[in-house]
């Protein structure tokens, strides 16, 4: 009997795009200051409360759905924007080794795995981990496109100043020690090792997003994990192994707001649908007993809006 769900992932699981507490200036499409913070701008568009990233994420929507059906299942969302698989594994081990509340048999783990382009470091000046997001192209020609953050959208000016001081060293690391091809091998190998670990230790788990690219060396592993992978898609339409790819098909925030808020993360509407699809996957995998929730017909905001809001 599942009593708790832990969701692990990146911004797409964390409710990326819905940073209501972000105090940064919101920049218009033209890159000019709008006079509002990012948080204020999002609040001016959306009316559903509470105004929390958690509520607007798919785990938040899943929690509401489970509550509405009188399930006593708590959801703990351990995702963080910008971070990737290294953090997922780190946080997973923190949970199973350090949390007295964690009960393996009563827990369902749902993983959104990330792709390349993310490298985590422990960073002593902030006594915390930081994440490097870099441009991964096969020839590693673009070395300039790289950012470092402790927490995207929430880092303080002091954090930013500290990281900027060492930016040159991170850049040297990127230039000398990150090869896209090697990283793809590492991400692919570690992904499958982690899945084997979960299976051997009999964790209840599902995959809400697989890495977008797998190195050809590991193509022979893919089929083994299909039964753990949730399919996302409207009835009779293309199915995706990743909820974020499903949302990319016309269901992002910028699609939902008709460009009034330009952000490529899954929209609130998408997260509501995704929550239902995860709920259905829980039924299919015998984690709960219930009736399958019908999924609406295909919706694409780009086709639904005739007139721009702004």
């Amino acid at each position: 009997m599942i009593k708790k769900i832990y969701t692990f992932g990146t911004s797409c699981t964390a409710g990326g795009g819905f940073e209501f507490d972000c105090k940064y200036d919101y920049l218009t499409k033209e890159g000019t200051k709008s006079g509002k913070t990012r948080g204020e701008h999002i609040k001016s568009i959306y009316s559903e409360t509470p105004y929390t990233q958690e509520h607007y994420s798919y785990p938040g929507q899943l929690s509401d759905l489970l509550n509405s059906k009188s399930y006593s299942i708590d959801i703990e969302n351990i995702s963080k924007q910008g971070y990737g698989n290294e953090r997922i594994e780190r946080k997973f081990f923190e949970l199973i080794h350090n949390s007295d509340d964690f009960k393996k048999d009563e827990s369902l783990l749902i993983f959104e795995f990330s792709d390349l382009s993310r490298k985590e470091f422990y960073y002593n000046p902030l006594q915390n981990h930081v994440i490097m997001n870099y441009k991964a192209d096969p020839d590693d020609k673009d070395m300039k496109n790289m950012t470092i953050a402790k927490s995207y959208w929430y880092d303080s000016y002091e954090d930013y100043k500290t990281i900027t001081k060492d930016y040159g060293l991170f850049k040297e690391f990127r230039e000398n020690f990150i090869s896209t091809d090697n990283e793809l091998i590492e991400v692919s190998r570690k992904y499958y090792l982690f899945l084997e670990f979960l299976k051997y230790n009999k964790y209840n788990f599902l995959i809400s997003a697989i890495p977008e690219i797998i190195h050809p060396n590991y193509f022979n592993q893919e089929d083994k994990w299909k039964k753990y992978t949730i399919e996302f898609g409207f009835d009779g339409h293309e199915k995706y192994n990743s909820f974020n790819l499903f949302a990319d098909d016309g269901l992002t925030i910028q699609d939902e707001t008709n460009q009034a808020y330009c952000d490529g993360h899954p929209s609130l509407f998408a997260n509501k649908i995704i929550a239902k699809m995860v709920f259905n996957a829980m039924i299919k995998n015998n984690y709960i007993e219930d009736d399958i929730i019908p999924i609406p017909k295909k919706i694409n905001f780009n086709e639904s809006f005739d007139i721009a809001i702004i």
Binding site: R90, L169, N176, L193, F197, N220
Partner: protein, 297 residues
């Protein structure tokens, strides 16, 4: 029955200390034993090969490198479609904290950083592509390594203090080992330790470690077994090197042999070797060393 054994480890499994190509006097000390003067032959996997002539032994150990390389190579072998899980055995000689692998874009290869995990502030023991080379090879290696100059690396001197935290590294080391060994278990891969991963979480001991020790008399690690039988000891200090001596490597090989019989992985009789069985070898080494000392070589 086992048909193929893979050994993964560091210099202790590679035959470290027996770099005959660098120091020719080592071969003088081991003259007259009928041993082929190669690092591979003097290692314990090389000696095991002599005890198990019908089993293919692949020694993938490398001096200076650590667990990250082991996981990389071993998992790729197991993931391969050609891996024969029923008839293969993997032997692991785990290293401890103090080794961090990096991938050099310039070389398109991995390089290894060795550091002293217990020092504060952290002290670096060097970066290399390959350790235990001739001086000329080493100099050339340094020239090719990224961001390094001959008196060591400016980059790593700044990078490591900026990003290293012992507890974080220890936890990563532990979780990586847990994931890797669980993967082997999930695949029903047979594995044993010549040096076990002591840093693994105690909760995983029964599951992942307990039944995988090789008995070296009453010790679980080759490091603790006859720890006074290094190359330095064996050559009465003529060669200063704390890697395992030839006799110790022969003893380790015989313990592994006997363990495989005990576990019904191979057929045959136990050897039950002990140090006295190698007195004759020790006598020859001592005689050689005395001669070298006398001739001031």
């Amino acid at each position: 029955m086992i048909e193929k054994i893979y050994v993964f480890g560091t210099s202790f499994a590679e035959g470290g200390g027996f770099e005959f190509n660098i120091n020719k006097t080592i071969s003088y000390s081991y003259n007259g034993l009928g041993e082929e003067y190669t690092k591979e032959n003097f290692s314990f996997p090389g000696q095991l090969r002599k005890l198990l002539p019908n089993i293919e032994i692949v020694n993938l150990s490398k001096s200076g490198y650590g667990n990250e390389r082991m996981y990389r190579l071993a998992s790729d072998i197991v993931f391969s479609d050609n891996f024969d899980v029923d008839n293969s055995l993997l032997i692991f000689d785990f290293s401890h904290l103090g080794r961090k692998e990096y991938f050099s874009r310039k070389l398109n290869k991995h390089i290894i950083l060795n550091y002293d995990a217990n020092s504060n502030p952290i002290s670096l023991n060097g970066v290399a592509q390959e350790y235990l080379k001739t001086h000329e090879e080493y100099e050339k290696d340094i020239e090719n390594l990224p961001l390094l100059d001959l008196d060591n690396s400016n980059f790593f001197n700044e990078w490591v203090p900026l990003t290293y935290n012992e507890q974080v590294q220890h936890e990563l080391c532990s979780s990586n080992a847990t994931i890797f060994l669980s993967f082997l278990k999930n695949r029903n891969v047979k594995y044993l330790f010549t040096d076990p991963p002591y840093f693994i979480n105690h909760r995983d001991y029964d599951n992942l470690l307990k039944n995988h020790y090789i008995k070296f008399q009453d010790k679980a690690s080759t490091h603790d077994y006859h720890n006074d039988k290094t190359i330095s000891d064996e050559t009465d200090g003529y060669h200063t090197d704390e890697h395992y001596g030839l006799i110790k490597n022969k003893l380790i090989a015989s313990c592994i042999h006997d363990e495989l019989i005990k576990r019904n992985m191979i057929s045959g009789s136990k050897l039950n070797k002990n140090i006295k069985d190698f007195d004759n070898i020790k006598k020859i080494i001592t005689k050689n060393t005395n001669y070298l000392n006398k001739r001031n070589i």
